[in-house]
Every structure is written in C-alpha cells, then in structure tokens.
C-alpha cells in the first residue's frame, strides 16, 4: 500500500469518525428540539451528513454506484423540508377549519 493510499485510508477513517460524531450531535438536536422547525432543520442536516457519508463509503468500498443514492437523498431531504414547511404554513388553514366547523358551515358531516 503506497503512502497516498495509506493517507486516503486514514482520511476515510477520519471522515467517517467526524461524520459519525456529526450524526450523533445532530440527533441530539432532533431530540431536544425545542421547536418543530429546529427538528426539521436537524433532520435536513442528517440528510446532508448522510450524503457525505455515502460519498465516503463509496470511496472506501470502491462502489461508486452509491452516488445515485446521494442524489436521491438530496432530493428527498428537500422534499421532507418542503412538506414540513407546508405543514407549518397551512396551520392557519386549520384555524379556519376549526372556526368554520364550530359554526356548522363545514358540511362534511352527516346531518
């Protein structure tokens, strides 16, 4: 094994270690919140870290095909955030929903 290969192996190891630590720290943020956007942000961060993780694993194992998963992950991480934002923003509709419902205008129920 050449020196550069040794360096690369070491770098892979170091990167995995740093990423693992990042994972754990981010998970802590998910757990402690305190608010929903904080958790969502942390989840998004987890996805970001995972993309890096995948890159490292791809290099380490030589199976670069994992890259596609990274692409998809970038996509879906985004999607989750969109959904949550959508959720939070639509809470105002819910206010409306509740109000209309108590007034009996919202007529989905059986008479």
């Amino acid at each position: 094994m050449s020196g550069s290969e040794e360096f690369l192996a070491l770098a892979e190891f170091a990167a995995l270690a740093l990423l693992s630590l990042s994972f754990l720290l981010t998970v802590v943020r998910v757990l402690i919140g305190p608010s929903l956007p904080d958790r969502v942000l942390a989840l998004d961060m987890l996805v970001t870290i995972a993309i890096g993780f995948i890159a490292v694993i791809g290099i380490r194992t030589g199976f670069t095909l994992y890259l596609d998963i990274a692409i998809a992950l970038g996509l879906v991480g985004f999607l989750a955030t969109v959904a949550f934002a959508r959720f939070v923003l639509s809470r105002r509709y819910e206010q409306e929903f509740v109000k209309r419902d108590t007034l009996g205008i919202y007529g989905d129920k059986e008479p």
Binding site: L18, T26, P37, L41, T48, I71, G77, V82, Q95
Partner: protein, 126 residues
Amino acid sequence: MMATAENLITGMLLIIGAGFTLVAAIGLLRLPDLYTRMHAASKAGTLGSGMMLIALAVFAHDQSIVTRALAAVVFFLLTAPISAHLLAKAAYAAGYRLWGSSLHDEMAGTLPKRHAPDAAAQDDEL
C-alpha cells in the same frame, strides 16, 4: 503519480468536508435560535457534503460518476437555499420569533401572528 495526487486530493477533500459537516453539527447544537442554526446547516453542511461528493468525483475514474457527482453538487446547491428559505419562512409565519438578544426584526408585522412570541411556549403543537 496521477494516482497519488488523486488519493491526496480525495483524502484532503474528505477530511475538510467532514470537518465542515462536524462544524455544522456543532453549530446546530450551540447556536441560540433556529435562524442562526440555519446558517450553520445551510452553509457549512452544504459545503461539507459537497466537498465529499467532489472527493468522490476525483476518486472515481468513471466519467459518468464524475458528471453525476458534479450534478449532485449542483442539485444540492440548488435545493439547500430553498429548504432554508421555506423553513425560515414557515417558522416565522408560525410565530417563531427571533432569539431574545437579536438586534432587529424588520419583518415584524408583515405576517399574521398566532402565538405569543415566547420561545419556551413554542415547543410542540406548532
């Protein structure tokens, strides 16, 4: 020679990228409110992972991998600010106010408010 350079660059990118990622994670934990945390995640985080993807591109000899890795980076750069924006907007709209020691809020009053701007009460049921 070429291989050595590749390995060195790959390794460096990996370490730096992972380092940025860790910094982002630390920032996520340490920074005082959502908006400041978002700075950490959307910048350091994006850059960190982006570098690691580039490391993969450097490492891989298959040009289709190279192009895909670069595409991934671009894709990533495209979506990251959008999610940051959406999340910030949503949080703000939902009544999540700035950290107590923040200096300005020129946006105050632009959106209907629901909750008392008290971070402690902003837990759950958001």
